[in-house]
Subunit: 347 residues, 3 copies
């Protein structure tokens, strides 16, 4: 368990201990990285998670392979046996992470308000700007050029990549990761009409993000209008997602890139939402809902399960014909009804 | 009218004066914030704009409620009577805004070209970079880490949040708000083919944004190819919107998040465009058009009114069946035509 | 060929030499910019690429026009004759580019790691942060506030606009342009489930971008999980595009704004992908594929040609009727089959 991220090499035996895996083969084999079965060299560890690639086991050059028990039974090479090989791969990947870790401390070019409290073990990068009354927890890293607004709180061991905006009154739990370009706490899109003009509604709420959440690059999460926008623990958000004001995303829900969720909608726990999905405002999506790519949700969903709506690409001539027919669909349905009536009458 | 943003408490009487509302009840009641009818405490002001929530009037703990005259007639608690309660709420919200206001002046870490002109009442935050010949108007605030390119002009009382990019030759009117991550004046996507290769077309125009416009987080507005891209006064743009080169958006049009508008399209005045909409290039959308969520517009629209095209989510089995049937739709229409002919012949 | 970007005026003769065009008319006429036929003044150069605008030739006030040989034959004004007038316009546009060019050198506010190698002819703007072991080539410009992570390599004559994030282990070829807000090398969205929780998979690959590629504003390109994400030479990416981990985009492919490509998908060469398209992961799209706006691709495409799937906007009443009919489509198809059977039996 002594292995740490940033490894350049270790032995299979040490990996087995770290992963709590059963080792079959030579514990002294050196492993200097991870790769797929197809591309691994004799110094790399591979894994088999998808049965589709099982045949590659015969030809892989990998130093060793992470395998499930049933597959390992038939494998003669070095292997690490785990019930969930993909999870083992995930854990092993973190050892070989090449992301440079900065030293603790505040870079001399950072601008930190005297009222802010930054833990001595935190790392604040070049040109970071930290406003009044901010609190930054132990081991948290704030990358170059990021800005943290007044009264925001970052827990322990968070990783804020370079060039992130965290506005004022934003609370992050522990171990939250935020990728470059993300904006947390931008104003919600709230306006009241005054004749033709739009009068801005000040957004008085903040944003709360739970432990272990992940916020992708250029993802935007608006602050609440009155109450907070809430992302619960363990939620993972891919890139370029838009979360409007007062949305609540339930724990462990995963959302793929380019999805947008309109204001005040509540998403349940353990949902998976594919890329490019759009969800209207003021809806309730229950726990365990799975939304297919680019679908549009305009009504609350009360039953767990899978839902979809977007059509898949067709060759252009077929697409154009279908598109015309869809416009005529109401007429077609009426034609059919008429035929039915006629046949009923005739018979 | 002496109330200013940043209030922590005021009396109902002062609020009535500020909002030009009729006060019914106790003018001395202290109000220290805003909330919904359901969550308001005895020190908070609530409002009723949506009749759906009318029943909450009976149980609300709010110090007072903003109400329309007909509703106020039946309400025995403290209230502020206004024809448009939602507008009253919007105005009141600005009093309780918690966004910290910086002092006027240029932060010592800002890099300001000597040829730039910054009004003495403007506030330029840490690590801001302002290029040659820029002009920044009175009361305008530029947040930490933003960059303003050469010859750009920001009017009075603009609010540029942290980490915004404004390129060169961009003109903002007065009271324009731009949220974090937004990019104004990026190059339009203009290329000419030279065999397989793409030759970049320099984008010689700029961007002009009218008074009181609002530009959301991570929204991108490209500079024009020859002439300027234009956002007229009072336009409100949500987050993650893409406006291509030479688009013109008419005054007071509102556009929700994740919408993209391709080059040279003109959008009329007073339109509302929902989230995730895509509009092709070189189109004209007339005034007063309302586009539904995620719809695609490929032809000009000459009649005001509502339009849509995206399908809504269905349970996966229904979705898969419908998707297959759509592909067969041309065939189905022909089957029906054949049946009709057969029946015509028979009868 | 001595003309350089940043021109304020030149003669038609010099332009003809620069563009290798045949000059008809007065070589001494001064040209101080470019414009469309409709808006050009007597000091501006116009062009005719789209036959739709041919009638404007009669009334244009332009100093001269770039024309194809067949059109030039009937034109009595000054003109520059080229087989591809649009390409000539693209080349001429670069002469009149108004983007300010910074002096070579490192701005005193930039933070450059001592181990980084920056060519003496490169220009590093204010508040740029360059990490350890970075290499920046000759003539490359890095705009204000951009961050470049460890071990990344930028070739010669690249243009990195202000406020760009380039993470660690990212390689750009020569003449690559990256617009503001773009993020290159953010983590891919890779997680393994451990019960309800998501365990992050460290993203061990980098990103490689070929010569002459163009990356739009707020576009995100994730680093690979094990191998690199690859954008080949001459690829042009518009704004707000999402490229997931281990995607490969083939040379000279053009992708319009707001498109998302999921992990490990390979896009061929010379494809054109319209705006708002979504492409699922682990697919192969062959060379020469053209995808229509907002279409969704869920299967590999093995035949070059055009494909589409999104419906176009209809007036709301027609849209609502069609949407209902689509949900009933399986039933309708069954009704028709029943009618057919009945008629077969009867006849």
């Amino acid at each position: 368990m002594a292995l740490q991220p940033g490894l350049t090499s270790t032995s299979l035996g040490e990996l087995a201990t770290y992963l709590q895996a059963e080792l079959r083969g030579d514990a002294k084999v050196q492993v200097c990285g991870l790769a797929t079965l197809a591309t691994a060299t004799a110094e790399q560890l591979a894994f088999l998670a998808n049965p589709k690639y099982a045949s590659q086991l015969e030809t892989t050059a990998a130093a060793a392979v992470i395998l499930a028990p049933d597959v390992a039974a038939d494998f003669s090479g070095n292997c690490l046996v785990l019930d969930n090989p993909y999870l083992g791969f995930a854990r092993a990947s973190r050892l070989f992470d090449r992301r440079p870790r900065p030293e603790p401390g505040i870079h001399p070019t950072a601008v930190v308000d005297p009222s802010a409290s930054v833990d001595a073990t935190a790392s604040i990068g070049p040109n970071v700007v930290i406003a009044a009354d901010v609190r930054i927890g132990a081991g948290t890293e704030v990358g170059a050029g990021s800005t943290i607004g007044a009264r925001s709180v970052l827990g322990a061991d968070c990783l804020i990549h370079p060039r992130v905006s965290i506005a004022y009154d934003v609370h992050l739990g522990d171990r939250v990761r935020v990728h470059s370009g993300a904006v947390i706490g931008s104003d919600g899109f709230g306006f009241a009409r005054d004749g033709a003009q739009w009068i801005k509604i000040a957004q008085l709420g903040g944003v709360r993000i739970g432990d272990d959440a992940d916020v992708g690059a250029c993802t935007t999460i608006d602050r609440g209008a009155l109450d907070d926008t809430i992302i619960e623990e363990g939620v993972i958000l891919d890139n370029q997602i838009q979360i409007a004001h007062n949305v609540r995303v339930g724990a462990y829900t995963a959302i793929a890139a380019c999805t947008g969720i309109a204001g005040s909608t509540r998403i349940g726990r353990n949902c998976t939402i594919a890329g490019g999905v759009g969800i209207s405002g003021h809806l309730e999506i229950c726990d365990g809902v799975h939304l297919g790519g680019m679908c549009m949700v305009t009504r609350s969903i009360k039953e767990p399960g899978a839902y979809g709506s977007a059509l898949s690409a067709m060759p252009m001539d077929q697409y154009l014909k279908s598109a015309v027919r869809i416009r005529q669909l109401d007429g077609l349905a009426k034609q059919v009804r008429k035929l039915e009536r006629k046949l009923e009458k005739d018979s």
